[in-house]
Symmetry: C2
Amino acid sequence: MSSMNIPQSSFPRVIVIGGGFGGIALAKKLSKKDIQVVLLDKHNYHTFQPLLYQVSTGGLEPDSIAYPIRKVLQGYPNFYFRLAEVSRIDTALRKLETNIGDIQYDYLVIATGTETNYFGNKNIEEKGMAMKTIPQSLNLRSLILENFEQALLTDDLHERDALMNFVIVGGGPTGVELAGALAEIKKGILPKDYPDLDTRRAQINLVQGSDRILPAMSEIASSKAERFLEGLGVHVWKDIRVTDYDGKHVTTDTDISFEAATLVWAAGVKAVCIKGLDADDLLCRGNRLKVNRFHQVEGFQEIFAIGDVGQMETEAFPHGHPMMAQPAIQQGENLGENLVKLVENKPMKPFVYRDKGSMATVGRNKAVVDLPKFKFQGVFAWFVWMFVHLYFLIGFRNRVVVFINWVYNYIRFDREARLIIRPFKKTYQVSKSRKAVS
Amino acid sequence: MSSMNIPQSSFPRVIVIGGGFGGIALAKKLSKKDIQVVLLDKHNYHTFQPLLYQVSTGGLEPDSIAYPIRKVLQGYPNFYFRLAEVSRIDTALRKLETNIGDIQYDYLVIATGTETNYFGNKNIEEKGMAMKTIPQSLNLRSLILENFEQALLTDDLHERDALMNFVIVGGGPTGVELAGALAEIKKGILPKDYPDLDTRRAQINLVQGSDRILPAMSEIASSKAERFLEGLGVHVWKDIRVTDYDGKHVTTDTDISFEAATLVWAAGVKAVCIKGLDADDLLCRGNRLKVNRFHQVEGFQEIFAIGDVGQMETEAFPHGHPMMAQPAIQQGENLGENLVKLVENKPMKPFVYRDKGSMATVGRNKAVVDLPKFKFQGVFAWFVWMFVHLYFLIGFRNRVVVFINWVYNYIRFDREARLIIRPFKKTYQVSKSRKAVS
């Protein structure tokens, strides 16, 4: 027995670090094979990250976009899940060190994904909000609601405005979708919830460092999304980089500045590194691990990296595949099949990415879709976006609950999960009130 | 303007402390009247407490049993909600002191409900779990799941058993319903989620201080509920009082003791007191405030107490009405109508409680119902229990989401919200593992 109480078996042991899109897709391919699979994750659930912004904005609850990893693995023989954080890889001894003990591997798959990259800006890291995990998304939800409750308590118009203002940094899908959702809340919910507050003054600013939002999509998608956002009242700022934030004042590399009690940082990610593999020559920009066409980390036969954390440089994708769900899923499936081949001493199949396109939603009836051969925007795109997201959600119950919530929110212009379950208390205090709302 | 930014109006101001069943029922009766209503609560949502045990056991998410108070009050003119904690009542100046400033009242309604009563036992308060609020229920959910993850890591059978054992103290509806739900999880989910753990060894103990569980219900309900629980494998202990707990060892006033990493204390409540009104002569047993037939707190014309916090001693109920949703709702409605009469200088109507009965559920197809003239148990009682709970849930979307989840859980013998969103980390460490799972 290892110290994790996982029995030794005659089958080779594959350890997968991370139960995201890549890790789960891989695990499913290894079910019912003569391979022992140990899946490690620091959460006991898989997170459907594309819908985190709906958790932050009170449209969905965590359970509808999270799925117990143990349930995914139910009925798979030779599968072991452990709630663990990996601290180091000992590549010489083929051993992982974790907070619940050490464990040997025959094959190791790193599928740890990404975390927020603040590019060294400690102030933004401390005072700003991220939206990469469910707890972070719930914190953001609490903060937004707390700020509006605080805004009621001050007569200082300057301060009140700051409490109602949002700065979202980063014009990728996360930033665009969050900005659109906030704009809809501003229009549909705030005036009814806060009749004694002039919520029309609330400003939603989306700040993008380059010359267009959704830079990974087509130009038509970018310009349509921008027009959709502006139609919803979002201020889109381009070619501006946020440089600092003290919890209230947002400074940029231009003479434009903002006053906002809520800053959401969605302007960068970096792959999650594990000690023991972080030699400079293995890492690309953003901490990604260089891998070959079989997902093998450079210099290792038995260590693989898939999803956001792996960087496979191909002719079509000289800087690696996009950091999205689709490449992670396809890589997980490919590697799963290859591991079976490897164990059976058959030749592995190099990975080929089938681009299925990308999409982003701005608001009701407003989405942009880029398919490889066809691009469209608007109502139909919005229905496609919903259908695809429901399809890729794990779990029948999750799909039904999300669908019901979407129908309800659509018909009623509402989002009922606007609950401060765990107060976040990061907001600055209004000068007139003597103590924080707790 | 008060320091809470609530405008002075020509209407009398009623302040309601607490957005529970009583406070919300009262507020609804005051809509569209010439009365300014200020509702204060430390949460921004109403909690449907009877279903908290389903949040703890992963059957439901918070949003389906919580409802934004601001949404309840949407469209009511002259209504103000503030997220605030009241620290003191100044009865002489008719003023409340809160964490967001002071505020004057013309009429004050105390509807603060109850909190857990540990009867001075600091160890149980520190090491045990309560289930009176949504955050507490989520903490209990996390702890239960964390304990099973920990149980996997030890080879010490004694320790492993303790991690899988539950002691629920208090045989009222909360204790009975939680014990039943845990028994169903033990049977339906644990063996599939933890195939490498002998989950049959998990023990669910329900400890009741008196000679029958559900003592507020009929004898037939008590005995049937006990039989249902035992059929599910719950150990029901009667005439035993838990005296101490160190996080692992549970001692009682007999020579029976338990080893359990999870102790849930559902054995007592006390009314939530606010300073300024806690003169001994106003308080009954359990901190309740003595009130007359018009809910007026003894000695005051303008201060009222409803729901669990008020004790109205009548011939039928010499120790006050039962501390349940129904009396609170009826009292809220009665006081709401009376406040309108009071403002219009009409005579108030004394409160008469219409007993609609009580009920508790043990598990699938197993519930007990006492109606005033009719008592029944089993499948039909279970359907009645579900119907009544869906009916009293606030919000159409909540009803649909709860219903969908119940249908799914019933058909699939499942509870998918078994997510450790916020780790609780109160569990003791198994000796072999070197660090807590974080």
